[in-house]
């Protein structure tokens, strides 16, 4: 047994405190007035002079509490047999080579140095040793497992390349912990070869290596790194002569002690330099550069901003995908001979707003042709009379391919089941609600996306909207009722068909049967409904390495752009191919994967079956911005933080083993914590016992003999 802070043992003298306190304790000062002490005076009084300790358990409890607390502060620990505690110096070794291949290792010759250090470690491998090569970025990969074959290990090191990955130390250290724990070899050694990026370490992730195992940091970080990176781009869109013009602004960060002066920054669109602007950025500062306008003519244009080159060239370029922001195209089909104002409200509200913008076209039912559905995202049937079989088929196919259909029912909506298979439910006769000021909406499914904005009561109350007449609608079992009137009748019903969505509203949108179009909630609800039916999502111009790309993203883009057409008859069963920047191809969709992890910097091209000659969908992928932050942790501090041990950093071949210090052992055993808890418990018990005794005797531990 030894103590880390033996001076605290002086505090053991405090044990005498309870005894002294007891010995000098006087009676309580409270005075009780009593009519006469005539009788009390006659009772033999016990002298306070001849004190003796009356309650030994209480005294011992107090002394024990003191002793435990003092012992806790002196930080005791059991000495460990050096032969057990120290790393073994003979016998076979389990060697883990943890080699960082994150993007930041591409800085200068960092990765070359790292590989060189790894090879030095490989050179120490002997016949009975087992060496494992683990390459890591955000995750860890065992490249060579438990081998003493130095040639194989060296070859694997030579083959290792810097990835676009970010840096995270916790996964690789946990893997090392697991492997060293499982190892039966007497000597367990792990070598962490990295640039010790600060951003890769979360301090709460503590690793517990097994007893006797060593973690040796091998730093390849360079002092005084300097780096310029392009961190983002922003678009400002304007319309000009029917075309969309985009102003692109790039953000840059200069992480170096010297200023960047008049550096030419290039904007490339589809591989062609369209503009070059000089930029000047102060040391350790950020700046931006705005390029001349470019025309966003077609979807899926590849854009790249390049800002010179430096030691870490990969973050000097920034990729993005540029597409024209197509408005959501809505086709409104109304009954032949219907008054022009019957679609007035819905066209008006759809003409307002820019995120997304809507484009509407109103056509009578008899004039609908196959061409009418081209490049449409949503079709609105506004009290339309019966459509022809051909039109119904076209409409059905449109929905199955991912289009949206909004049906507004009125008295002219004649369809029943077989006649209109797209109707979510069976329409019935109109219901009059003229009495009592009309009906209201009694139920809204706030879990549905179109009502999500209205969850908060401050965002609108539908109870003020009056419905004087509506068409009865009996939904099918598979249909989802989104809203009901106060009498229980269905107000909005949704049905999914293929990749598309259908919503039926049982009252017209022309203010003839209800006051809804005049209500302030009409515009947001119509917008939300159309966004939902169009499956509209804000397109992302770029992703970062490590994110997943889902097949729904390119499909949604096709629907948004109205390019789904008939080329992809069942988009839900879409198939396609993703081509990574490195040329690797991955099957996507039906029969393949539904999502792809974006591991490389550059452009991923997604080509869905049936897209024909159209441009493939482009996904721009950039490095994790944290990889551009090259500030490093001191290796010793890192190892100390991560494992609670002290280790000497190794730069350039010093492979000595660190030894456990008393502080190490004490921290690992943490006996002080148990002593502290025991002391606190003793104090608590003392308080309870003393309180009880105090109430009974008042004089604490002391009792006297009768005089």
């Amino acid at each position: 047994m030894a103590f880390l802070a033996p001076l605290f043992l002086v505090g053991l003298a405090a044990i005498a405190v309870p005894i002294i306190v007891h010995l000098i304790q006087r009676e309580r000062k409270t005075v009780v007035e009593f009519p006469s002490l005539m009788f009390l005076r006659q009772i033999p009084y016990q002298s306070v002079e001849r004190r003796r300790i009356h309650n030994w358990p209480l005294l011992l409890l107090r002394a024990a509490a003191m002793a435990l607390l003092v012992a806790a502060f002196s930080r005791p620990f059991f000495k460990v047999d050096p032969l057990q505690a120290a790393p073994a110096t003979s016998g076979a070794r389990e060697v883990l080579i943890l080699l960082d291949r994150s993007a930041s290792m591409g800085y200068g010759d960092h990765f070359a140095k790292a590989k060189s250090e790894a090879k030095k470690i490989v050179e120490t491998i002997r016949g009975d040793d087992k060496a494992t090569l683990i390459l890591f970025g955000t995750g860890a990969e065992e490249v060579v497992r438990g081998s003493a074959d130095r040639g194989r290990l060296s070859a694997a090191i030579d083959a290792a390349k810097v990835s676009s990955d970010g840096t995270r130390y916790a996964p690789v250290l946990r893997l090392a912990q697991s492997k060293l724990s499982q190892s039966t070899l007497p000597r367990k050694e792990a070598y962490l070869i990295t640039d010790f990026q600060k951003s890769g370490w979360e301090r709460q992730e503590e690793i517990h290596l097994p007893q006797g195992a060593t973690l040796t940091p091998v730093s390849v970080a360079s002092p005084g790194v300097s780096d310029l990176s392009v961190t983002s781009v922003a678009f400002q869109r304007t319309s000009f002569s029917g075309e969309e013009r985009v102003t692109i602004t790039a953000g840059l960060t200069n992480r170096s002690p010297t200023a960047v002066t008049s550096l030419p920054v290039k904007l490339e669109i589809d591989g062609r330099v369209v503009d070059t602007r000089p930029v000047t950025i102060e040391p350790n500062a950020s700046g931006s550069v705005t390029f001349a306008q470019v025309t966003a003519a077609v979807p899926g244009m590849r854009g790249t901003v390049r800002a010179g080159t430096d030691n870490l060239a990969r973050n000097n370029e920034f990729h993005f995908a540029l597409s024209p922001s197509r408005p959501v195209s809505v086709l409104i089909i109304q009954a032949d001979g219907a008054a022009p104002e019957s679609s007035y409200f819905i066209t008006t509200v759809l003409s307002i707003g820019a995120s997304p913008p809507f484009k509407t076209e109103v056509v009578p039912a008899s004039r609908v042709t196959a061409a009418s559905f081209e490049r449409r995202s949503v079709v609105v049937l506004n009290d339309a009379t019966a459509l022809s079989t051909q039109t119904t088929d076209l409409l059905k196919r449109f929905v199955e391919q991912g289009g949206g259909l909004f049906i507004s029912l009125k008295d002219r909506t004649p369809w029943t089941g077989p006649e209109m298979p797209l109707m979510p439910g069976t329409p019935g006769a109109p219901v009059d609600r003229l009495g009592g000021g009309g009906g209201t909406l009694g139920y809204l499914d706030y879990s549905h996306p179109i009502f999500d904005e209205f969850k908060d009561p401050r965002n609108g109350n539908f109870s003020g909207v009056r419905f004087f007449r509506y068409r009865a609608l009996t939904p099918a079992a598979t249909d989802r009722v989104l809203a009901r009137f106060d009498d229980g009748g269905a107000a909005m019903v949704e049905r999914a068909l293929g990749s598309g969505r259908i919503i039926a509203f049982t009252s017209p949108v022309d203010a003839s049967w209800n006051s809804f179009p005049r209500a302030h909630l009409f515009l947001p609800l119509v917008h939300e409904t159309m966004r939902y039916l169009a499956q509209y999502e804000e397109p992302e111009a770029w992703y970062t390495v490590g994110r997943m790309l889902d097949i729904s993203v390119p499909i949604a883009a096709m629907v948004r752009e109205g390019t789904a057409g008939d080329a992809q008859p069942t988009v839900r069963k879409a198939t396609g191919v993703v081509m990574a920047p490195g040329g690797e191809q991955v099957a996507l969709g039906d029969g393949g994967r539904n999502s792809v992890e974006l591991l490389e910097q550059g452009f991923y091209s997604v080509r869905l079956q049936g897209m024909g000659e159209r441009r493939p969908f482009q996904v721009a992928v950039n490095l994790d911005p944290a990889e551009s932050d090259l500030s490093a942790l001191p290796p010793a501090e890192f190892v100390n933080t991560a494992t609670g041990r002290v280790a000497a950093p190794i730069v350039g071949g010093d492979l000595e083993h660190p030894e456990l210090t008393p502080a190490d052992i004490e921290k690992k055993q943490s006996l002080w914590w148990f002593l502290f808890v025991a002391g606190a418990a003793a104090l608590l018990a003392e308080a309870i016992l003393a309180n009880r005794l105090s109430k009974r005797f008042g004089f604490g531990l002391l009792q006297t003999s009768k005089t």
Binding site: R28, V32, E33, S36, I43
Partner: protein, 302 residues
């Protein structure tokens, strides 16, 4: 629900009575309630009861002639009634500092005042003369017995403040000489004296033909000694302090107090002195009963 000795008697908790500032009102409230409660009691009724007949002599009030008896006997008889004669009632009230003790809201002096006021009122109703002596280490106030002194008695009680320590025996010896006329003497005190000595001081009162009732007023805390925490106890009269450990002292104290009360009871009984021990938590009916029982014995005069 607290039960009373007599059904229907409305005796109120002393703590409630303590809120009544006007002693006369208090006495009237208590005594009237008490009398109403006694309404059907077998041995007390109206103050004038029929006793016997005697022959009519000239000068007798013809209204007192029993005409029914005359009808039967053809002789004039006059109805003779038991009647109270005027007696003296003197309350000796201890106002020493120990009487200021109150553990439950009503001090012993307050209780003694209520009791004295009630007894005086009762006597006053019976057309007795009432007087009072308050004392501590000496006589503080002496109001001689008089039919007109009821209000003075109440004022005296009202003004009584415990200020000095008591010296009961000295005062009793001194006062004994004042009661020349046959009186009802009610001693109201906490009686912190040796019982033997006390009885020696009380005996002269009996020799003089007085009827003596000793009301021993104690606070419940003086009997039960409910203290638990060790503290310094201060004598209210002398100011002397003693460190007391209740757990050790309580049993002995209770035993001594019990023996004290028993000694007083026995010795008073031996000396034909009525002794009533009262605690300040008890209603006043017990005291009134004792008093009236004594008065009946004393005042049965034809």
């Amino acid at each position: 629900m607290e039960t009373h000795l007599i059904p229907g008697a409305r005796f109120v908790d002393p703590k409630v009575l303590a809120r009544i500032k006007d002693l006369e009102l208090l006495a009237r409230y208590v005594v009237d309630g008490f009398i109403n409660g006694l309404h059907r009691a077998p041995y007390f009724g109206a103050s004038i009861d029929f006793a016997e007949h005697r022959g009519y002599v000239p000068g007798d009030d013809i209204r007192r002639v029993d005409w029914r008896l005359y009808a039967r006997t053809d002789k004039y008889y006059v109805k003779q009634y038991e009647a109270d004669t005027n007696a003296n009632f003197v309350a000796l009230v201890d106002v020493s500092k120990s009487m200021a003790f109150a553990s439950q809201g009503v001090s012993k002096l307050q209780y003694a005042s209520f009791l004295a006021a009630c007894l005086a009122y009762l006597s006053h109703r019976q057309r007795d003369r009432v007087g009072i002596v308050t004392f501590d280490e000496d006589v503080v106030t002496h109001v001689p017995a008089s039919a007109k002194h009821f209000n003075v008695l109440l004022h005296t009680l009202d003004r009584s403040v415990p200020q000095r320590p008591g010296r009961l025996l000295t005062v009793l010896d001194k006062l004994a000489e004042h009661f020349k006329r046959r009186s009802i003497v009610a001693l109201i005190s906490d009686l912190y004296e040796n019982p033997t000595d006390l009885l020696e001081s009380l005996k002269p009162y009996r020799f003089l033909g007085n009827d003596l009732i000793v009301f021993h007023i104690l606070d419940p805390a003086e009997i039960e000694f409910p203290y638990t925490e060790a503290s310094r106890f201060q004598d209210l009269e002398s100011g002397e302090e003693l460190p007391i450990v209740p757990e050790v002292f309580a049993d002995q104290y209770r035993q001594m107090m019990k023996e004290h009360i028993e000694a007083l009871t026995t010795k008073c009984s031996d000396s034909r002195i009525d002794y009533v021990q009262l605690t300040t938590s008890k209603p006043l009916d017990e005291a009134l009963f004792s008093y009236l029982g004594n008065r009946e014995r004393l005042m049965r005069i034809r």
